[in-house]
Amino acid sequence: MSGGSNMFLYSLSIQQPSSITQAILGAFSGKKQQEIVVAQGSRLSLLRPDATQGKVHEVLTHDVFGIIRTLAAFRLAGSSKDYIIVGSDSGRITILEYQPQANKFNRLHLETFGKSGVRRVIPGQYLACDPKGRACLIASVEKNKLVYVLNRNAQAELTISSALEAHKPHCLVFALTALDVGYENPVFAALEVDYNESDQDPTGQAYQEIEKMLVYYELDLGLNHVVRKWADPVDRSANMLFQVPGGADGPSGVLVCAEDCIYYRHVGRLASRVPIPRRRGPTEDPNRKRTIVSGVMHKMRGAFFFLLQSEDGDLFKVTLDYNDDVGVSRIRIKYFDTVPVASSLLILKSGFLFVASETGNHNFYQFEKLGDDDDETEFNSEDFSADPSDSYQPIYFQPRAPENLSLVESMPSMNPLIDCKVANLTDEDAPQIYTICGSGARSTFRILKHGLETTEIVSSELPGVPSAVWTTKLTNGDEYDAYIVLSFTNGTLVLSIGETVEEVTDTGFLSSATTLAVQQLGEDALLQVHPKGIRHIRSDRRVNEWPAPQHRSIVAATTNSRQVVVALSSGEIVYFEMDSDGQLAEYEEKKEMTGTVTCLSLGEVPEGRLRSSFLAVGCDDSTVRILSLDPDSTLESKSVQALTSAPSALCIMSMPDSASESSNSSTLYLHIGLYSGVYLRTVLDTVTGELTDTRTRFLGPKPVKISPVIVQGQPAVLALSSRPWLGYNDNRGQYMLTPLTYPALEWGWTFSSEQCPEGMVGIQGQNLRIFAVEKLTDNLQQETIPLSYTPRKMIKHPEQPLFYVIEGDCNTLSMATKEGLIEKDPANHRDLPAEDFGYSRADGHWASCISVIDPLGKEVLQKIELTENEAAFSIAIVSFSSQDDQLFLCVGTGKNVTIVPRSSTCGYIHIYRFLPNGTIEFVHKTKVDSPPMALLAFQGRLLAGTGTTLRIFDLGLRQLLRKSQAEVAANLIVGLQTQGSRIIISDIQESITYAVFKHADNKIIPFGDDMVPRWTTATTMLDYETTAGGDKFGNFWILRCPKKASEESDEDPAGGHLLHERSYLQGTPNRLELMAHFFTQDIPTSVQRAQLVAGGREAIVWSGFQGTIGLMVPFVSREDVDFFQTLEQQMRTEDAPLAGRDHLIYRGYYVPVKGVVDGDLCERFSLLPRDRKQMIAGELDRSVRDVERKIADMRSRVAY
């Protein structure tokens, strides 16, 4: 099974991909409200837009372990619920429904039609649904089209027919849509090209004469077959189709979008055409043609309009004039607004526009108006001939600030994530993740911190430094808290909560002593515990006082609505219980403890019971004892737990538990905080009082304080140490402990008022602070610094907390050229922010710069724009030993670079000197024959990969001096790593090569290479022999050099032996061994070893292009490997992937998976129904709780 590998890794993702392949809109819950389903990598997520707050909430996300390529929503006639069709790489069509009660996707149908995998002729690329929900067509890029008839049976269940074929060989599909034909036979429209003739014609004439056809496929519902009903040539450059409403709502037919033009076409109707307006302005090329890249049609009250987006991001409103006789008489088009280039646009009935951006944040806009009566020029098709071959005058518009749309929310998205570095620059206990993301003018430098977002409500200074704070209601029935009670070292202050927060004095609380506990007792009484006694304040302000025995004081207290327990300085415990007439009755015996009591906890009275039956007592002899409070065994010891340090806080509370015996019930837990800063959570058996299943976590160096709070309607635990932490159950039902992005607090308590029903109150020094946690789904907080162009690479300064980022955009006017153009024609120039409107584009031009980023100050310290059409591709910081180890920044650039096919005039290596504040100053540049794509500091010199040549440079006064060179790569060196004299060279296409630098001979000698072509994107050396890396196809792999070859390479200082060793199969003498292989789907863009949590183990952290951040955690013991491999196997069968892909084949997409267990699949265990969990646990010879604990431990040991 393992293939003899002795390296095993556990793959986990800590952030899911944030790119959206496609978004669809529908009423998936079956209610009026519209919801959005998005495909993000292998994940399917349901988003619920909140129109009142203008926010989008993620309700569910499901990893389908397959590549989701297309989605469609459909609704059966007369139904109110939309279903989801998924086109994936499984060779199957999947129909899903969303079940709002269980909050999960349920698969209704799964029909196999072909081989799995993304293939040329297996449908799954294009998907279209009849607007009346009667049929769908799923097509491949070439040849195959399948139509499924959707219907319902007598039980009103959805049925799907067997597939009807509409194949046509040699036929390529560019776009597909369904026609709106009302209730006539469903018709689908496709843009097709037939290449059969051009493939046979050596003269090339047939290729020149190829026509693009608009083809109608009609599904004859009566005869149950599909016919190719109509085919008509359209513009050769056509690329997109949009459905035009039909039946009673419109003229039917399609909009055909082509380069520079939009056509209306329908069978038996006149065609019309309107050009796509081009941008006006001195920096715009007047001859550049635009294409439509996305769009949306919206129907409302009998009218309809289109919003079509050009490649610049400009939205155009397109409307049609039509009547029943001639069909469409006029297409009108006008500029609407500009939004980021979208992969999907959705218009919600509530007046919002959801833009699923291709790169960067996804935006949620509100419509201010529909551009109906503004002074924007409207163009219409009457002025233009409908024949694609006729010439016409292009039309222009002036982009302007948004008028029709206003941004209400931006959903953070790391897509595309280009580089990532884990570092601790802020000296916190856990490191942060620094990334460069985005493309073009919307590029960003992002800092990720582990923590939950908090919203501050109040922060006010107090007269003294309080030691504790409580809130209390006045009566049992109150919804909100009435008082805030603050305890100082010599007194107590009571504040009332209302419109304003002010001090009250007539509450009955003793204000001259410090307070130990506050409780709303029974129906309407209040209770205050202070060192000298207990005050029981009745609703009529009568006070019953219980004084502490002489020469003793109360050191700890715990209360609930019916019970009170106090511990005396002598180590005695006194127990009170409320009797039927509301009096506190003391239990006649006192319990003597062996040590001094440090903390107590009672827990809430369970619903329908008279008392909490357990008391937890923490003593300074590092124990916690559970005492019974049952009437027949009052204060009898039930169990003892020994601890590593004295407990500082205890809290008994019940929380939901996915592993409990019956589903969705809760379990009683004892939370323990220690003076050493360790937090423990153990299960408290409700019958025996035994403590089992202890989980520990180090929170920080300060003693832990614990208080129960409510977040999102769920019980949670606020644990305070050097940082505040929140313990809660996440949406998978797993218990998570996450720090809050909030300053350290000395004390915390719940707070509930009308404005803030689920808040928390805390003390920070002399301040009283009230805050709330609103979102539990995001446990990584992002901070953003804008960049100028698409970032390419970054590097951290070895000493200072600064990053150096190289950025570049091709086919974009550089700053200097742009300024020159504006100067020539300043009158027509309008300054619009590039973040929203993008840069002016021009073929062959590059805009590139080097930025110095200060991530702590959140600013760009310096930006150096490159000139003369140079673009930066590689960066390194080198301390040249010839310059007394002084640090220099080296940047590799290319001049006049074209990407496809790769070419350039020449390359340069720029050298910059560091100034004391971290900014840089140009020293000189050295010409090289091709742009260096990889630079690296190597033994006090610079190692540069230019093309296929590896060179070593030393720094001279006027330029770099070439010291050594070797041909080591097959195509193009894209990455370099080093340890000692060893150099790991990654080739763009041919995996990695191990080479050694022989100082004596001044030679670089390759000695080990790979046998599989891997299109390497990122690598890192795990140790001297082992390299982990990723490739362009979305694989993660680990390669190792054989021990013998590794040793031999270092033996001979001169390398004569190595140099003359016989090459093996036209490669180097040795081959690397594959240690692990895993298909991650997302393209790894960086791989590194890092420790993510304080006190955690080191793991491999990789970042994915679409925004994934993942971990590969090495297993410690063989036992764990066996356990997780068996669990994974069970999960594959018991929780088979939703879209019908085989999990094992998916993870072994290009190369069979080796040495990696999929943790994301294992973590789905907690979502399984109870009986399946038990079955799997049985197979593993463990209890369900044990299995869940092991899964949770695997994550919490290394990550969040």
Binding site: G41, R69, V141, V173, S198, E358, F1033, F1105
Partner: protein, 84 residues
């Protein structure tokens, strides 16, 4: 003889169903065109790969997708002259 016939029939069936299935007389041009078409279809079908190239070339994904389908028509140039 019957076996040979069946084998031929099976091969023909495969060729009809799976575009690109080779035969004894597959020319270099056919083979390489087929290979390129498969590659381009894979670029189009893997959203992450398409995006990777879109960001690299600074073009929107929709445009790049169209470009790739367009290139599938004749990925490696004109077919060679037929030799009789």
């Amino acid at each position: 003889m019957a076996d040979k016939l069946r084998a031929t029939q099976q091969l023909e069936q495969l060729q009809a169903r799976y575009v690109g299935t080779g035969h004894a007389d597959t020319t270099k041009y056919e083979w390489i065109s087929n290979l390129h078409r498969d590659t381009l279809a894979s670029y189009i079908g893997h959203p992450q790969m398409l995006e990777y190239m879109a960001v690299g070339t600074g073009e929107p994904m929709a445009k790049l997708r169209t470009k790739f389908v367009e290139r599938m028509i004749q990925p490696v140039g004109k077919p060679p002259e037929k030799e009789d």
